[in-house]
């Protein structure tokens, strides 16, 4: 679990299918990634994105196929994986810094926790808010604390489930930039579930598009935009808009009958 040399292996998902009772949710999913890759997962609501993330985190056991994360089958609570939720999931009875410390203690991270926490709060622009309770922070600030907590774990694998889904466009932009700058340093392998096409393109190395339920892989589009990226600058470029149009077509196919929540701004 070191920052300089991320794990030797990425994520390997082969022919994974899953059903809840009679309902097929995932059908023959196959994703292979090199370590340090940033993958965005998009698809219609209910197509099984969260389920797939749960499987990669070891929270849910897949029923068929093979899953390897860092060369090992996923197990819940593994020290090299971290998960971030759509709502901040901050503990309301702990201050911002104590919420980060909660994760550090749980993972028994060595080092001076106060210093690590202060640095991370600075990284997400929350210096001076260390002793605020979540109820004393705005929603965007809370999600920034959650982002800091996720990165405090220095995990090789990050699974983010619509982490900015509940935020307004402006706040979202700020947080996407924060996420990128933190990730530039750690270069963990990331799977980001999002409904926001623009977010997927701006952040990821590749965008995997899933079909409506049962979820299959419809398209797997590499995003060959240079890094380091600036989300706001990127949105003004031609390449970004071409990719957006291309992915939009895929998504339209994916949701031929299902409802779609694009969220992005074309």
């Amino acid at each position: 679990m070191s920052v300089a040399a991320p794990g030797q292996e990425g994520i390997r998902i082969e022919a994974v299918s899953h059903r809840y009772g009679d309902v097929a949710i995932l059908d023959g999913i196959r994703i292979e990634s090199r370590p340090g890759q940033f993958i965005a997962l998009i698809g219609p609501s209910g197509c099984g994105k969260t389920t797939l993330l749960d499987i990669m985190c070891g929270i849910r056991k897949h029923q068929s196929g093979n899953v390897l994360v860092g060369g090992r089958p996923p197990v819940e609570g593994r020290a090299d994986t971290a998960r971030m939720f759509a709502r901040d999931a901050l503990l309301p009875w702990r201050t911002a810094s104590a919420n980060i410390d909660f994760a550090l203690k749980a993972r028994r991270r060595p080092g001076n926790h106060d210093a690590i926490t202060a640095q991370l709060l600075e990284d997400v622009g929350l210096t001076g808010f260390a002793d605020n309770y979540p109820s004393q922070l705005s929603q965007g600030m809370r999600q920034r604390v959650a982002l800091a907590r996720t990165f405090s774990l220095e995990s090789d694998f990050l699974f983010l489930d619509e982490p900015f889904g509940a935020l307004d466009a402006q706040t979202k932009l700020v947080l996407q930039e924060k996420l990128l700058s933190l990730w530039e340093r750690t270069r963990s392998t990331v799977v980001l579930v999002t409904h926001d096409l623009g977010e997927a393109i701006a952040l990821a190395d590749r965008v995997v598009v899933m079909t409506a339920r049962p979820g299959r892989i419809l398209a797997d589009v590499p995003i060959d935009l240079p890094r380091p990226r600036s989300v706001s600058a990127l949105q003004k470029t031609r390449a970004y808009h071409d990719l957006y149009a291309q992915l939009w077509d895929s998504l339209e196919q994916a949701t031929a009958s299902a409802r779609l929540h694009p969220g992005g701004n074309a």
């Binding site: 985190c57 929270i59 819940e76 609570g77 593994r78 020290a79 994986t81 971290a82 998960r83 939720f85 709502r87 999931a89 503990l91 309301p92 009875w93 702990r94 201050t95 909660f102 994760a103 749980a106 993972r107 309770y133 979540p134 109820s135 004393q136 774990l153």
Partner: protein, 257 residues
């Protein structure tokens, strides 16, 4: 801003004083004119001075102390028992499933109706009063605590699990803190009901407490005496809940922005 707030607070205070003196005045008037006989409804101009006399000659302190000590004892015993039971039932879900319907039945039972039985079992003294208070306190706090422990945010559980915390750590670090506000609500409500349980037992059994005093005055058709003691009871109950609110505010700063 502050000026606006003070004038608002002044208006509220003025309104309350008008209400207090208005109702008190109507009461006095009704008693004086005989619209309602003073023997039934008492008369503020008589029971308020009477109340002051009880404090001056010190005759009220004994009953207050008696009722308060029974309430404190019942509050502590009922509280400890309720928290211990809640801990056990939350830690062993199957046990909870087994006893839940019986708990619901006991909770639905109006427990003040059991007070005469308590008196038969435990005599006319302190024990019956305390047991009566405990029977109310226990269920209020138990139900509040169980509900609080159940209200854990699934995301918090998911977070703890993804961090590799075991179930006993999740219990200590997630479930208990989640339940704290509900526990406080239970303590606050429970305290007032404990007092109710104690006073009910005193009403029936006599003895030395405030409830016994109410029962003595009503048996001697002294409405003014009854109202004087009721004022004391209201004040005691009010003081107890204010105390709990102060403690709650201290301990749960995170609740308020």
């Amino acid at each position: 801003m502050t000026a606006g707030r003070t004038s608002h607070a002044a208006k509220v205070l003025a309104g309350r004083l008008v209400l207090l003196f208005g109702v008190g005045g109507l009461w006095e008037l009704a008693a004086r004119t005989g619209v309602f006989p003073a023997a039934f409804i008492g008369q503020p101009s008589i029971f308020l001075p009477g109340l002051a006399r009880m404090f001056i000659d010190g005759s009220i302190y004994g009953p207050i102390l008696d009722t308060l000590s029974a309430t404190a004892l019942a509050f502590c015993i009922g509280g400890v028992l309720a928290l211990a039971s809640a801990l056990l039932l939350t830690a062993v879900p199957i046990l909870r499933e087994i006893v839940q319907p019986f708990l619901d039945a006991l909770n639905a039972l109006p427990r003040v109706a059991l007070v005469p039985l308590f008196i038969v079992w435990f005599g006319l003294g302190m024990t019956s009063k305390v047991i009566s208070g405990v029977s109310l306190m226990y269920f209020i706090l138990l139900f509040n605590t169980l509900a609080g422990a159940r209200s854990v945010d699934p995301d918090h559980r998911g977070l703890a699990r993804s961090l590799g915390l075991g179930s006993s750590q999740i219990f200590r670090q997630i479930v208990i803190p989640t339940a704290i506000p509900a526990i406080f609500a239970g303590l606050k409500l429970g305290l007032v009901y404990t007092l109710l349980g104690v006073v009910t037992a005193e009403l029936i059994a006599g003895g030395k407490g405030l409830g016994s005093l109410v029962s003595y005055y009503s048996n001697t058709y002294d409405a003014n005496g009854v109202f004087a003691v009721l004022v004391v009871l209201v004040a005691v109950s009010f003081a107890l809940s204010t105390l709990m609110e102060k403690i709650e505010g201290r301990l749960m700063r995170w609740k308020q922005p």
